[in-house]
């Protein structure tokens, strides 16, 4: 015998039967099917590393595999280090000019579809 939890007396006759109408649930389910279908065919406004536009499925996959790259996170190339001090100074000067003339990337965020980092967080 299952142990009963004490409860106040109930009056079944006064209680709502909680019958559901078909149409609100059907309309919501139909809307869901349409939205999901659109989502599966949806090209996002985010580019991939390869240059094409990412599908929504590729974007979702990138979330789980560390494939979302932000322009603000792309580090500039490190300054050159050479054995010859004269050559290093020249290379450093060239590197500084390159950095000064470098234009910021046109994209803010992009998707690396090949990323496979297992746990980004």
């Amino acid at each position: 015998m299952f142990k009963r939890v004490p409860q106040p007396p109930v009056n079944p006759a006064l209680r709502d039967v909680e019958r559901h109408d078909f149409w609100p649930g059907f309309a919501a389910a139909l809307a869901g099917v349409i939205v999901a279908f659109c989502g599966a065919r949806h090209l996002t406004g985010v580019d991939t590393v390869g240059g094409s536009t990412a599908w929504e499925i590729q974007l979702v996959k990138a979330f789980s595999s560390g494939g979302v790259q932000y322009a603000s996170q792309i580090a500039p190339p490190p300054p050159p280090k050479l054995d010859d001090p004269a050559a290093e100074a020249e290379a450093l000067d060239r590197w500084a000019k390159q950095q000064a003339n470098a234009t910021p990337p046109k994209w803010k965020v992009r998707v690396d579809t090949d990323a496979k980092t297992p746990c980004p967080t």
């Binding site: 039967v17 919501a28 869901g32 996002t44 996959k61 979302v68």
Partner: protein, 294 residues
């Protein structure tokens, strides 16, 4: 407290209720084959409908909560609407409400199993269920968005739903940490997250489904559909003998004797053992016109 209901102890569970009760753990186990399928790794582009970390080495679908938080964090860089996620959750919610919580969610199943270890349980007040919506709005939508506007990508956000999630700690943090320990590199999961996991496991012993009842944003969202979903529970007053079995069987603390299609319900269907509450599916011809007009 003495139960004031006169024939409280007399009624036995119905055959359907007993059958559903026996079937549920087997179905929950069967669903693990879908959520933990190693061959299904390519489905990471599709959000699932249950709470299951996509960083888990065996996960087949993407975590809907993680996907929503990532979309929120992405907003400053790119305005994108998660159509696929919204559509899938809308379909699942409209058809079954929170049925997936009780019958398919692997994290819920784990909590069910942990809850069987100890018999003594702490009762929670009903209002704790509203914190799920605070988690949904605060941790899943607003916080990642605000930190995203500050230029911090979701992966680098120190506080986020994924950083605090015990499912992520258990399903991804532990396997990768064990792998790292075996490789001689030490425990990689943060001690804070490890502490969250241990606290959650301890809580699950003494509170039935603590995550689902207090924190789960996905369960909170799906349970919003309980009042209109096609699958629902119906009270049959002619069958009710006030035996008190429905409320006694409910481990989620729902006042089943008053209303059953509420947001605190995970639709485990244990309350159907009394016979007065019946699982049913709304069909166009199910509701007579005069009853709809009432």
């Amino acid at each position: 407290m003495e139960c004031p209901v006169p024939n409280c102890q007399e009624r036995e569970p119905t055959a359907l209720g007993r059958k559903l009760s026996r079937l549920r753990p087997w179905l929950q186990t069967g669903f693990l084959g879908i959520w933990l399928a190693p061959v299904g790794r390519w489905l990471h582009g599709i959000p699932g409908c249950v709470f299951h970390c996509y960083s888990c080495p065996l996960s087949s679908f993407a975590c809907p909560v993680g996907v929503a938080a990532n979309y929120a964090a992405l907003l400053p860089a790119a305005f994108e609407v998660p159509y696929l996620l919204i559509g899938l959750l809308l379909v699942v919610g409209a058809v079954s409400g929170s049925l997936v919580c009780g019958w398919a969610c692997p994290f819920g199943f784990l909590q069910d199993l942990l809850g069987k270890i100890t018999r003594r349980k702490v009762a929670l007040p009903g209002w704790v269920g509203y914190t799920r919506y605070a988690v949904l709005v605060g941790l899943v939508v607003l916080l990642p968005m605000i930190l995203g506007f500050k230029g911090i990508p979701f992966e680098n956000q120190a506080v986020s739903i994924c950083r605090l999630c015990p499912a992520g700690a258990l399903e991804a943090g532990v396997p990768y940490s064990v792998q790292s320990v075996l490789a001689g590199k030490g425990w990689v999961m943060s001690w804070f997250k490890t502490g969250i996991l241990l606290s959650f496991l301890a809580a699950a012993l003494f509170i039935h489904r603590p995550w689902c009842r207090i924190f789960c944003p996905l369960g909170g969202f799906l349970s919003l559909f309980n009042r209109l979903s096609l699958f629902h529970l119906r009270f049959n007053p002619r069958e009710c003998v006030e035996c008190n079995l429905c409320r006694s069987r409910c481990s989620m603390g729902v006042k089943v004797d008053q209303q059953v299609n509420v947001s605190g319900c995970i639709r485990c269907l244990e309350c159907t053992t009394c016979g007065a509450i019946e699982p049913c599916f709304a069909l166009p011809q199910n509701t007579p016109v005069e009853e709809r007009q009432k």
